[in-house]
Assembly symmetry: C2
Homo-oligomer: 485 residues x 2
């Protein structure tokens, strides 16, 4: 065993000591990413990118099942297009990258590297939409976007990131609203089913909504350090963009009308959420549905019977390889313990150990990453037991995350208590807010917390109205506050 | 039927009249793409993008089966990195887009929007590679790239395009050479099997090789107008990049060495090749393996029995939908003939017509796009016959393309004849060349044709050596010349 190998299993900073450093240790040591020589940009390494590929595949299926088609729009947006929608340009202009030269010449008009694609897509839609027959237009795009961020953190906030953005056009306000809510529902179901991340869904406040939207809906997840993360958003854009980009359709009643639009997106930030929701001091804990490797098979060699153990390990790997993402770790010169550590750090949901004793007993020892629980599985029931076990692990990760979120959700009506919780415990603070932006602004300044959403569903948790936590005014609506990423 | 609908089925310019206009008519009318308001950029519409998704899926499977993993590297490359490899920067600097401002400030160093990713990837690899144990490193990336082109044409040459780029690192020159050739072989098999496009594989001349490569291999296809198209390339990069980016590994013999690298790519240009190889005056002809829709079902209504026909059409669509990409065209107010024209224009490989007579005979009428051949298929053998038929169509498209290429491949040794063929017939010109760059340059100036490749395989077609077609010097090697896209 060479020096490099000994050094490989380094300590990960404990979560309680420095959560932020724990996160950075994990993303680097698991080889999910590396810093790139461009400020705020990263290289997504194969182990991180494989998670994104799984996310793409599982979400793309849902996007198509709800009637959307994929397309691709240009990376560059002429300055004049971005400037058409006033709120939109105000929101994005400060954080864009500008292309000023191309092909050795200064451009006559500067180009923005897309921070989001409403402007360029609406420009195209104005050519594609003439009649009610062209609607609804349901298009999605998977691509890279660029927002020049000052404070960056791998996966959570980077100057370039990968995402999908849906852009739809509808005849009526009702249809657009239905679409925006439907896609938020798709995100919520996706996050909970595939990522094992429970989320709260609701409406953003005016202050927090997307630049140019009429209404923004969001799903909000709680990270292990008690901070919230916006995991996906869906916007009812109203007619704002249709009017400035002159998208009009001839309706059945022979009248020219402006249609209603939505847009919605999730990004590589979901990978950050996976890490921060499930990980522990040993490293990643990946839900089986999106894990690059679902199972690692580790042969345990003693002096005798080496060949038989390796042979059986290969057989089992081949058998499981038909239906699962499985890897045999047959590397020489690494101890089993070292391999266990490495694959635990990389968050592989299930480890199968095969030693001489397992061989003798015609089975394997299975070790679950999320509980550490060991069990012996006879070979003859392996093909049947493994999918059950992976589903159990998936379910247990969701259960753990739900339990944590419940424990960290504080029902609060007193502002002193509100502030104390944010200092000492964090988590979601479910309270009432009068709806006044100045109360929201004051709370943010005084506590660094923001309104995560006005939740759709609060039944049994909090009364439907109550006094504002900041000003005491009656008839406030339920809101979740939190410090957020 | 409204005015819009009547206008829909417009004439496509005949190929013989103006091939270039025929191509543009098709890409626009089939709704594969639309021009974007940025010079040389396009929006890829759902019908075009679905082809790209099929290409991605089928090729990605092969890239992974040969041991590669996907990753993602930054869009932006600092100027200083691009400049490290002298030939590389000379080749690409004139056609890049420059980002000079970000987040409201002028950048201290200009950034290039990647025209290809060798520079940024090698920079990362220099951190990831220490030992022979880290090799081979086999990574692929699917992404967008930007090259500021003066003369653009949808799919074939656009300022932004989508592609995959593989970047691998190996201990030895032999391994790198094997990899470069292996991936060219993957491209060739992919093009012929999935796209039904026969290609010639071989080595590029020094003049035509990739900027920074030691050797470039290529697959070359012949378009219906007799011009060649470079459909994919694979480069043995030698140690050029390793040396300037300081990628070194400790070999088994404990010596620090520079590794050997390859890179290889295909792009959305393949969609252009599909159009120009298979299309005809009625529109697209898409090979079933990559067609967005493989089958369109058109119910034919008469006054009586409308419901029964529609019911049967729905049943058959549902049945076939389990295994194929199929669409039922049940639109009102469009005649069957109009629908036939539209789906033929869109290149759907197989049309199933269901009218009262078909219903009576318990079957459907199948019409093949590539031959126009009609046949009656009893319903009870439908599930069995359809996959055979699609395979026959796939095979027939390849056969037609092969036959065309053979007819348009001219064995020529006389330069006057060489020039005449290029003026009158075009196609591939198989001849001998002495290897002197000045002969190559002269031929290009005099005939606008370039060396497409020094083919791997010429047995039976031309002698292994012969006098150079331009200067007559003996011992020239076989080469394919053509005018090219």
């Amino acid at each position: 065993m060479g020096t490099n190998e000994k050094e490989f299993v380094k300590e990960i900073t404990p979560r309680n000591e420095d959560f932020s450093q724990w996160y950075l240790d994990i993303v680097l040591k698991s080889e999910m990413m590396d810093y790139a020589p461009v400020k705020g940009c990263m290289a997504i390494r194969p182990y991180g990118y494989a998670i994104w590929e799984n996310i793409q595949q599982l979400l793309d299926r849902r996007i198509k099942a709800t009637g959307h088609e994929n397309a691709y729009f240009p990376l560059f947006i002429p300055e004049s297009l971005l400037q058409k929608e006033a709120e939109h340009v105000e929101g994005f202009a400060p954080e864009v990258a500008w292309v000023t030269h191309g092909g050795g010449e200064k451009l006559t008009e500067r180009l923005v590297v897309r921070p989001t694609s409403e402007a360029i897509i609406c420009q195209m839609y104005s050519r594609w939409i003439q009649s009610w027959r062209d609607l609804p237009l349901l298009i999605n795009q998977w691509c890279n976007v660029v927002r020049w961020e000052k404070n960056t953190r791998p996966f959570l906030r980077t100057s370039e990131f990968l995402w999908q953005e849906g852009h739809t056009v509808h005849c009526t306000e009702v249809e657009a609203e239905e679409e925006a809510l439907k896609m938020l529902g798709v995100y919520k179901e996706f996050a909970e089913t595939e990522l094992a991340i429970p989320v709260i869904s609701g409406l953003k406040s005016e202050r927090e909504k997307f630049a140019g939207a009429m209404r923004t809906y969001t799903i909000e997840a709680l990270m292990a350090d008690g901070r919230a993360l916006q995991a996906g958003t869906s916007h009812n854009l109203g007619q704002h963009f249709a009017k400035v980009f002159d998208i009009q359709f001839l309706d059945k009643d022979d009248e020219l009308k402006y249609p209603w639009q939505t847009s919605w997106g999730v990004s590589t930030r979901l990978i950050g959420a996976l890490i921060m929701v499930h990980g522990d001091d040993r490293g990643l804990k990946l839900p089986p549905r999106v894990a690059p490797l679902q199972i690692v098979v580790v042969p345990i060699f003693t002096k005798k019977g080496r060949e038989e153990v390796l042979q059986k390990a290969k057989e089992i790997t081949a058998l499981l390889g038909e239906n699962f993402r499985v890897k045999l770790d047959e590397r020489e010169g690494y101890s089993p313990g070292w391999k266990f550590n490495e694959w635990e750090m990389k968050g592989v949901p299930l480890r199968l150990e095969i030693g001489p004793k397992d061989l003798q007993n015609d089975g394997v020892t299975a070790v679950r990453r999320e509980t550490g629980e060991k069990s012996f599985i006879p070979e003859k029931v392996l093909a049947e037991r493994i999918p059950e076990l992976l589903e159990e692990i998936q379910g247990e990760l969701l259960r753990q995350a739900q339990q944590f979120r419940e424990e960290k959700t504080h029902l609060v009506s007193d502002y002193t208590e509100f502030k104390r919780i944010l200092e000492e415990e964090r988590g979601f603070l479910l309270t009432h807010w009068c709806g006044d932006p100045s109360c929201e602004e004051n709370i943010k300044e005084e506590t660094k917390s923001t309104i995560r959403c006005l939740p759709f569903e609060v039944s049994g948790k909090i009364s439907k109205t109550g006094p504002c936590v900041r000003c005491g005014k009656e008839e406030g609506a339920p809101v979740y506050f939190a410090r957020a990423y």
